[in-house]
Symmetry: C2
Subunit: 113 residues, 2 copies
DNA sequence: GAGTTACTTAGGCACATGGCTAAGCATGAC
DNA sequence: GTCATGCTTAGCCATGTGCCTAAGTAACTC
């Protein structure tokens, strides 16, 4: 069993909100200002900023302020541990299925002899 | 921008808790009873059951009761949409990087001529 | 049948979350 | 310098979350 990784907590939790996923999807296409990011959402700006803060805390987004404009950018490498974790569970599961297949095949082989 | 998928909310949110991730990792190795699953955690059983309920609601786990024993099993296909979503954002990002590379190369080529 | 085991239900609590409004600060445009 | 723009801070609220204890139901063992 893998050790507890608080980074994974933050990442998956961040991905569990539709607004935040939409933000990430937009940023995958390129950096954007807070105003541009917030435009499609009928939400008060402080609330929207809260979402951005969550994404930054998770390491999924980085932002810098140039004058009065804050520009946000996706940190795609931060998605790696999440993808890896999922892939790992599926690999373990697949390996288990393969072992099951082999077992069934060996049974069938024995019965043939 | 992809449409809102409440299933993804539940899946990612479920993955955002270390206890629930540990449960899934254990179930990737094979089905297990509630008692076996709960053993490694210093937690009251009703609280633990709450985690299982969350995983079932997300479609990540299925359980059935045989007599007084409830056995839980991983539903690995439910991890597919989450993995796909992450892969999709990374693909968009990679494609963007490729376009950037091509642009820089074309600039360098023009400067050479 | 009595006692044990494996859940299940119910209620409570402290804290977190996802929103809101109001007000403020800093930068930019004219 | 004035006004507009783009955030930022502060406080609030209803609901949700992750735990707890207590009590209950059903199945199992002897």
């Amino acid at each position: 069993m893998a050790k507890h990784d608080p980074g994974l907590d933050h990442i998956f939790t961040a991905l569990g909100d539709p607004t935040r996923r939409a933000i990430l999807a937009r940023l995958a296409q390129g950096p954007a200002s807070v105003t541009d990011l917030a435009a499609p959402f009928d939400m008060a700006l402080p609330s929207f900023m809260g979402h951005l803060k969550r994404l930054e805390a998770a390491g999924l987004v980085a932002s810098h302020k140039d004058g009065r404009v804050r520009t946000c950018a996706l940190q795609p490498q931060a998605l790696g541990p999440a993808a890896d974790w999922i892939a790992e569970q599926r690999a373990i599961w697949e390996a288990r299925l393969d072992r099951l297949d082999a077992f069934v095949l060996s049974l069938a082989k024995e019965q043939k002899e």
